[in-house]
């Protein structure tokens, strides 16, 4: 595996983003509010464009300064996480459009898919979008040029088995 320069990635910011996405989407489903699902899609889209976690501002401005969440800075590639958020944005946008067009089963299924993938990441430490990114990087697709940190299973949070 080629050596590469890793960056400092605060996984607490990513986790906050995932937990807010989960909460708002579940709330949108319970209250039958497609507009709330569309809002989540919009924030994820803005986050993807700015290359930051969409709801990361909650962590940065509220949770971190008050000590309610502690930083969890890990040597990692930020690109796969951005790609994962972009994938989420695509699913959420498709889900929102489906909901507004009256295809409620398809729409809410896509929203729940995002909830489940975010939960898997937040509680299980496995980022499916990142795994897809690393899988695509094996085919040398343009823009997919990062490899998992050495010794880390693609998509898993670096730490265990990763080289120093």
């Amino acid at each position: 595996m080629a050596s590469q320069t890793l960056q400092k990635v605060d996984h607490s910011a990513l986790k906050t983003n995932q937990l807010i996405i989960i909460s708002l989407n579940v709330l949108a489903f319970i209250l039958n509010l497609p507009i709330l699902a569309a809002f989540v899609a919009l924030v994820m889209g803005i986050g993807s464009a700015l290359k930051i976690p969409g709801f990361g501002f909650v962590y940065k401005n509220l949770l971190k300064p008050r000590g309610w969440m502690k930083p969890d800075v890990v040597d990692d590639n930020p690109e796969p996480h951005r790609f994962a958020q972009f994938l989420g944005f695509v699913f959420m946008t498709a889900g929102s459009i489906a909901l507004f067009l009256g295809a409620t089963v398809l729409g809410w299924s896509l929203v729940w898919l995002v909830v489940m993938l975010a939960a898997l990441n937040a509680f299980g430490g496995f980022c499916v979008g990142c795994a897809v990114y690393y899988w695509l990087s094996r085919f040398n697709l343009p823009g997919f040029n990062k490899q998992p940190p050495t010794g880390t299973f693609p998509g898993m949070k670096p730490g265990v088995g990763a080289s120093r």
Binding site: V26, F123, F126, G159, G161
Partner: protein, 138 residues
């Protein structure tokens, strides 16, 4: 009850069902992890210490390990003294051991009873109260 309230309740029930299903899957994965840990307990000891054991997987650059998990384990260790054995494993130094035990992230703690059966696994930070409760139920 209005139709709108009934729909919200139905959706709430559905959401809870999906979440419970997800939690069930998570529980099954943890059970599998415990079986795996119990089967591999002799990768840590030649002879069982005949007291509860806390197996703590960490890495030097794991921030929550330093700020939360390490102090919590120190406190539990101080409270229980000789009644508990703590084994700390650096997953960088012993990646094969971490792999054998199915550890996917750090911190991860396993609570083993005196017979070497893995009874609890905590993926992520486990606070003092939780660890004490787990150890006391052994």
């Amino acid at each position: 009850m209005s139709a709108e309230t009934a729909e919200i309740l139905l959706r709430f029930g559905l959401a809870i069902s999906i979440i419970v299903l997800g939690a069930l899957v998570y529980w099954l994965i943890n059970q599998r992890l415990l079986v795996r840990a119990s089967n591999n307990v002799f990768t840590l000891f030649n002879q069982l210490p005949n007291k509860p054991v806390l197996v703590y997987f960490t890495t030097p650059d794991c921030a929550p390990c330093k700020t939360v998990q390490r102090p919590a384990i120190d406190r539990v260790s101080n409270l229980l003294g000789e009644k508990l054995e703590v084994i700390e494993i650096d997953a960088y130094e012993q990646p094969d051991l971490a792999k054998t035990w199915g550890v996917m992230s750090v911190p991860t703690t396993f609570v083993l009873d005196a017979r070497g059966e893995a009874r609890y696994v905590n993926n992520g930070v486990a606070r003092v109260e939780k660890l004490l409760e787990q150890i006391q139920t052994l």
